[in-house]
């Protein structure tokens, strides 16, 4: 999918350029893949937190440009810092282009009133996605999100204690599970929209 999108751009990401980025990330190809995904997630969140409407395409554009620079022989000593500066430039370009078309603030306000998916569909999909999780993960999510106030804190302490982890570690685990659920949920909702 991404390869197709890239082919449409002015400069297409070649396998060699992509490999040079992976090598810079790690000499072990498997670890390099993991680091690549982590870097992509950082970019995605960066653009999202900068209120970009298309964080995925901007993240991919950033990685493509970095790979191209590497392939062209540029020396990059601090990859993260370099990636961040490229991302900043891309965001700047994007904002400038966007401002020409529509005032960003107005667009956001319009989006605020767009129609969300029906809650019933979300609940149905959520239940399906929870059932995909392991029993332990499902129990963690249920316990984490149930109850209120004091009970909630106690409940979370209890889960953390049962798992033998700190509350912070539990929050991280829940955060990852949430991300997993959201991916599943979005797929499920898209599927239900397509079926209609």
């Amino acid at each position: 999918m991404r390869e197709t999108q890239r082919a449409e751009k002015k400069w297409a990401l070649s396998q060699e350029a992509f490999d040079s980025l992976l090598i810079l990330l790690d000499s072990d190809r498997e670890l390099a893949g993991i680091k690549y995904e982590k870097l992509r997630l950082k970019l995605l969140k960066y653009f999202e937190w900068m209120n970009s409407e298309t964080p995925e395409s901007l993240a991919d554009e950033t990685l493509d440009r970095v790979a191209r620079k590497l392939y062209e022989g540029s020396d990059i000593y601090n990859l993260e810092s370099y990636v961040y500066s490229v991302a900043k430039n891309i965001l700047f370009e994007f904002k400038r282009k966007e401002n020409k078309e529509v005032i960003a603030h107005g667009e956001y306000n319009t989006n605020l009133h767009s129609t969300p998916e029906p809650e019933s569909e979300r609940l149905v999909c959520l239940k399906k996605c929870l059932n995909v999780l392991s029993n332990e993960d499902k129990e963690i999510i249920i316990c984490y999100y149930e109850e209120e106030k004091h009970e909630k804190i106690e409940s979370r302490k209890q889960i953390a204690s049962n798992l033998g982890v700190t509350l912070t570690a539990l929050r991280v685990r829940v955060c990852r599970l949430r991300a997993q659920i959201e991916v599943c949920l979005n797929q499920c909702l898209r599927k239900s929209v397509n079926e209609k």
């Binding site: 950082k42 999202e48 937190w49 810092s81 900043k88 956001y108 989006n111 767009s114 929050r171």
Partner: protein, 323 residues
């Protein structure tokens, strides 16, 4: 101690630092800081995986707190103005709300299920209604309980009626359909009766077929020779012995002896020595062949440690022979 205080201080300092950092990250997410500060944080999380993960967690919590309505008015306003600006983010809030709803419903259902189980355990009728053993089983249990209750009532009534009787019948060691209490030899649940009242002789329809092997006669009061009050034991064909249980007041003797002779004669028909008083009773078992119909005199003697003997109790009992 000083080390502990230092560690505690360091802990508090670290906690404060974390909370401060968390507030800073919330400000980053809500765009509640200068662009320069935001750039600095962005640069930091690109280089620091831990900080990036922390940002993800803080964002998650922020969404949850908003979904639960737990943000301060100011933060809620910022959240709606600065954060809730894209559809994916609004979807995330909707997902958080759905998660809270689902989790709470799931927990409530689980709790209700547990409560129901508890209530069912406490309720006998509900327990009987459980399909585990089937309806027939439940009805059987109810019937058994009713029967048991009826049996208890019958026993209590019977015990009450026999409190006045001093005659009891011991059931034989081997159960036999021909051995059971008769009106003459009715079992008494309380052999410690103070009053020696003799019940008039009565016969049940099956008295002839249900004969005791050992007739027991409890003599608890003054056993006079009056026909109406003399304790009486009935000997049937297969009664092998009569057990005399004589209630005594003085139980301080080291041993006791019981001597029985016919009221009209001088020869002893039965003597037993070295008996012990148990629960205020001295008991001896007289073979049936030593007894015949008529009145008998009994004498209980107490023997002290120095060998001296004293009469502790004496009285009469009656033997009836029945075929």
């Amino acid at each position: 101690m000083a080390g502990f205080v230092t560690i505690q201080r360091e802990g508090i300092f670290r906690l404060n630092e974390l909370l401060e950092k968390e507030e800073q990250l919330i400000s980053y997410l809500l765009r509640d800081m200068s662009e320069a500060e935001r750039k600095e944080i962005a640069q930091q999380f690109f280089a620091d995986d831990e900080l990036f993960e922390q940002l993800l967690v803080v964002e998650n919590d922020l969404i949850d707190r908003y979904a639960r309505g737990k943000l301060s008015a100011e933060k809620e306003r910022l959240f709606e103005q600065s954060y809730l600006t894209t559809q994916p983010r609004r979807n995330r809030v909707a997902t958080a709300k759905a998660l809270i709803q689902t989790a709470t419903e799931s927990r409530v259902a689980k709790k209700n299920s547990q409560e129901t189980k508890k209530t069912e355990k406490l309720s006998l009728l509900a327990w009987l209604r459980q399909p585990v053993g089937g309806i027939a089983w439940a009805r059987g249990v109810v019937a058994a309980l009713i029967l048991f209750a009826v049996l208890i009532v019958v026993i209590l009534l019977w015990m009450n009626r026999n409190q006045k009787s001093n005659e009891i019948v011991e059931t034989p060691p081997k159960p036999s359909p021909s051995i059971s209490p008769t009106p003459d030899n009715q079992p008494s649940p309380s052999p410690l009766n103070e009053e020696n009242k003799n019940t008039p002789e009565k016969k049940t329809p099956d008295a002839e077929t249900q004969k005791p092997l050992i007739a027991t006669l409890l003599i608890s009061g003054n056993a006079g020779r009056d026909g109406g009050t003399t304790p009486t034991a009935t000997i049937y064909e297969n009664t092998s012995a009569v057990r005399l249980q004589i209630k005594i007041k003085d139980t301080a003797y080291s041993s006791y002896s019981v001597t029985v002779r016919r009221a009209s004669g001088t020869r002893d028909v039965w003597t037993q020595e070295n008996l012990e008083a148990t629960k205020g009773l001295v008991a001896t078992t007289i073979p049936s062949q030593n007894l015949s119909q008529g009145d008998f005199l009994f004498v209980v003697e107490g023997k002290s440690d120095d060998g001296t003997k004293e009469i502790v109790k004496e009285g009469y009992f009656k033997i009836k022979i029945s075929k």
